[in-house]
């Protein structure tokens, strides 16, 4: 059981790294690492059943390999390396991230958990990943980082999903992953267009539509 907890702790560290780093390429590699780690979790928790194997292979292939390559290819086309100053600065974002993670840990043990889930870190880690994903989305200006934020958000929800494997049959799980892929693919196309029209992936120009 402590192996699972160690993996989850590692995920939280990746979250913090994401919040503090300003360079895009390492961030994308961090997200893919996080995806790969999460892909292993179902095997560790529920052992080797047909369902878990399919799920983890799909997740690994998708989050670990396909999506990062997609994002890296977009970055080469666009050719930007560094995230500009986020709305509230790096240090405050990381501090806020830490604050939210501790809050989610506190919040988690108030929730009426089932006996077998009490000591596992699943719920607090999923809530903290969720909140850091949202934080990334809200504070960053670059379109790429917003997509990364969305990916971290998805990972948070995915962690929570592992607990309830029997609620989500394989077909639906595959559907969720497929949706994720389609989503990222469409975001990639739109980012490409943004680059072609604004020659920069910043979303400052993307605020012309207002009253």
């Amino acid at each position: 059981m402590n192996l699972v907890n160690n993996v989850l702790i590692l995920v939280v560290f990746i979250n913090f790294f994401m919040l503090s780093s300003s360079r895009l390429v390492p961030c994308i590699r961090a997200v893919s690492l996080q995806g790969a780690l999460l892909a292993l979790l179902p095997l560790l928790t529920h052992g080797f059943t047909a369902h878990t194997v399919v799920l983890s292979c799909g997740a690994l292939a998708l989050k670990g390999i396909i999506i990062p390559r997609l994002l890296l290819r977009t970055i080469e086309q666009v050719g930007i390396r560094r995230e500009l100053e986020p709305i509230i600065g790096y240090v405050p974002t990381t501090a806020l991230g830490a604050l939210l993670t501790s809050a989610s840990f506190l919040f988690a043990n108030q929730l009426p958990l089932l006996p077998e889930h009490v000591d596992s870190l699943f719920i607090p880690v999923s809530l903290s990943t969720l909140s850091s994903g949202l934080l990334l989305l809200m504070t960053r200006k670059k379109a790429i980082t917003q997509v990364l934020g969305y990916l971290v958000l998805e990972n948070g929800i995915y962690i929570f999903g592992i607990l309830l494997l029997e609620a989500m049959p394989t077909l639906v799980e595959a559907g969720v992953l497929l949706d994720l892929l389609v989503g990222i693919f469409v975001m990639g196309i739109v980012m490409h267009q943004i680059h072609r029209t604004y020659s920069d992936l910043g979303t400052e120009q993307l605020s012309a539509l207002k009253e």
């Binding site: 709305i87 949202l134 989305l137 809200m138 504070t139 917003q146 979303t203 993307l206 605020s207 012309a208 539509l209 207002k210 009253e211």
Partner: protein
């Protein structure tokens, strides 16, 4: 009752036929007129048949309307309101025929005819609808078609803004009515109108909502803001129908709604009396200060609505203090004034339209000496003017006389009781005096004296169609004025249907019958004597030499030296300075030999320009400012609002 419904359909069909495009337009207009005349014939025959059956006539169609069902009812009250509709509507169509031939301002007559027909159909429907949903449905159809009639010449900015104000006011009225009927929903079974006197008195909120809704349509003083603009922007036969018939639907609404309750509380009567007095006096005061002939006539509609409201207030007082004479006379006077006003106001608008058609402007100061050039129109306008100032030989006097007698029924009551209702007499007296001053002003300055502008110089008489439309109205005014006793039985029945007590009613109208008998005899003698003497004198003066008017020795009098609209009413406007806030410019001669000066006075509509428009402007600015804050275009703000809503919801739940 079937006749009335067939009249409604005929009006609708006339609207549709009027819409025929292209080369068959002349056929379309002819069919439009034909349908209008047919509808009027059906309607009048239906009313004639109804006049002899005391009980209301009910028809139920089992078409599943979403909420109520399709029921129509004809009783004495709606019959009285329907009578002017079936007279003015076809005459309006006939007038329109003549009006459009030479007049090019109405560059979309097809659209106008369509909405005009629909408006008439809506009016007939509203007057006979018997359940709230159908009432609101037809009320809104009539209001929407009214908007298109008002904004018929919408290429002019003035018509556009008038249309906008009209439609907003009507919609606020409808919302108030919806709220009122919804509040009444538990009492009415499936929105059907209850029998007279079936419900307990409406709670104050419901009454004031009804008053707001119907008052906005009727045009009581504070709620009249849309009326002058709308009635002056609409083409003349449109504004004749609007002013003569449509605003009466507000009165009809109040009459129908107050008939639901068994014992109306006292404050209903007093509110209506107060509103009527304010509308009357301020209406005629504003009318005096106007230069535009149609705005002036529109303000007079406000004044006459005030008089009708006073009659209605008296009737309500009668019901609260159970004084049958007061009910019958108050309601009888009010309903007869509704019919009379429908007739002479349409006559005035038609003749004003004829004047505007030839001179091309609505400003009174540009007219003058039109009697010699438009003899027929001038005579008909004179009939309308004398009738609206409630002077004896015509119908205006008869209905005001009934209201006077009604008020006098409270003569012996103590101050705490209904004696204050006697104040109606001096108020009506003042209104009558001011109305007389106003109509002498218009008639004198428009038709008499010498023409002030070249346009008035070569004015031409109205076409035969227009004159044919005006003549029956003038005759109707004369007939009701000279033979008023014809109307009493229907008025008596209306009072019965209004209070719901059919049988046990002594007819308190004998005093009125005797009086009206003498009134008609005096009117006949008056007309005969005046005609005789005038013809005699004209005969004697046929060879009299013609010279210039005696100008007290000044031998080059010019047309501009005549009295104009603003100078004529300057004295009277002075008294109402506070409420009119007239802006005067010029007229101060400084040096000994003053250079040529120019006097001009303009009276904005006080309530609209100083209160309503700035208020709405302010509200709009705050809304736009708020929207700019919420929709500020920054994507992280949007995501922040999602998270904040989530957190708020979680806090709310735990």
């Amino acid at each position: 009752m079937y006749w009335i419904l067939s009249a409604l359909l005929a009006f609708a069909v006339s609207g549709i036929l009027g819409f025929t495009p292209g080369l068959r337009q002349r056929l379309g207009t002819a069919l439009h007129l034909l349908c209008h005349v047919a509808a009027a014939a059906f309607g009048l025959y239906g009313l004639y048949r109804f006049a002899f059956s005391p009980l209301p006539d009910l028809i139920l169609f089992n078409l599943p309307l979403p909420l109520g069902e399709l029921t129509f009812r004809l009783d004495a009250i709606s019959a009285i309101f329907l009578a002017p509709v079936f007279l003015v509507a076809p005459l309006g169509a006939l007038y329109g025929l003549g009006y459009n031939q030479q007049h090019t301002t109405l560059h979309r007559p097809r659209k106008f005819r369509f909405w005009y027909g629909l408006m008439c159909a809506g009016t007939v429907g509203v007057l006979t609808a018997d359940n709230a949903i159908l009432f609101l449905l037809l009320w809104e159809i009539m209001a929407v078609s009214g908007y298109f009639v008002v904004a018929a010449e919408d290429h002019t900015p003035e018509a556009k803004s008038a249309g906008f104000v009209y439609f907003t006011a009507t919609r606020i009225g409808t919302l108030a009515l919806i709220a009122a009927f919804a509040l009444l929903y538990p009492l009415l079974d499936l929105f059907r109108f209850p029998a007279a006197g079936a419900l307990p008195a409406h709670p104050p909120l419901v009454f004031f909502l009804f008053l707001l809704g119907f008052g906005l349509k009727a045009g009581f003083m504070p709620l009249h803001v849309w009326l002058p603009g709308a009635h002056s922007a609409a083409p003349s036969h449109g504004s004749a129908f609007l002013s003569g018939i449509i605003i009466k639907l507000g009165i009809y609404g109040i009459v129908r709604v107050t008939s639901f309750c068994a014992a109306p509380p006292l404050y209903w009567g007093w509110t209506l009396l107060g509103l009527g007095a304010i509308s009357g006096i301020l209406g005629v005061a504003f009318a005096l200060a106007q230069h535009d002939i149609k705005r002036l006539l529109a303000y007079h509609s406000v004044e006459n609505i005030g008089i009708i409201a006073m009659g209605l207030g008296l009737a309500l007082l009668g019901r609260s203090t159970d004084n049958p004479a007061l009910i019958a006379l108050g309601l009888g006077g009010a309903l007869l004034h509704v019919v009379n006003h429908g007739l002479f106001k349409s006559l005035l608008f038609f003749s004003a339209g004829a004047v505007i058609r030839t001179t091309g402007t609505r400003d009174i100061d540009a007219f003058g000496g039109l009697l010699k050039r438009l003899p027929w129109t001038a005579a008909l306008f004179l009939v309308g003017a004398v009738a609206i100032s409630a002077l004896p030989p015509f119908n205006g006097f008869v209905s005001e006389w009934l209201i006077f007698i009604g008020a006098l029924q409270t003569l012996q009551s103590s101050l705490s009781d209904t004696a204050a209702a006697l104040m109606v007499l001096p108020v009506l007296g003042l209104i009558g005096g001011l109305a007389l001053a106003c109509f002498v002003k218009i008639f004198g300055i428009t038709f008499l004296g010498t023409p002030r502008t070249p346009a008035a110089q070569d004015a031409t008489e109205a076409t035969w169609g227009m004159r044919a439309a005006m003549l029956p109205l003038a005759l109707a005014c004369l007939v009701i004025g000279v033979l008023p006793t014809l109307t009493l039985p229907t008025l008596q029945m209306a009072a019965h249907h209004w209070t719901g007590i059919i049988s046990t009613y002594p007819t308190p109208l004998p005093t009125a019958i005797a009086g009206l008998g003498w009134v008609s005899r005096i009117a006949l003698v008056l007309i005969a004597a005046t005609l005789l003497l005038t013809l005699g004198l004209r005969f004697k003066a046929r060879r009299a030499p013609k010279t210039d008017t005696w100008g007290c020795g000044y031998n080059q009098p010019t047309a501009r030296m005549q009295y104009t609209a603003s100078s004529f009413a300057d004295g009277l406007i002075g008294w109402f300075r506070f409420s009119l806030q007239t802006k005067k410019s010029g007229a101060q001669l400084s040096e000994l030999f003053p250079k040529p000066g120019q006097f001009y006075s303009h009276t904005p509509d006080g309530v609209l320009e100083r209160l309503v428009l700035p208020l709405f402007q302010h509200i709009e600015n705050t809304f736009v400012w708020l929207r700019r804050r919420v929709q500020n275009g920054i994507i992280s703000f949007y995501l922040l609002s999602v998270t904040l809503t989530l957190v708020a919801l979680l806090i709310y739940i735990f």
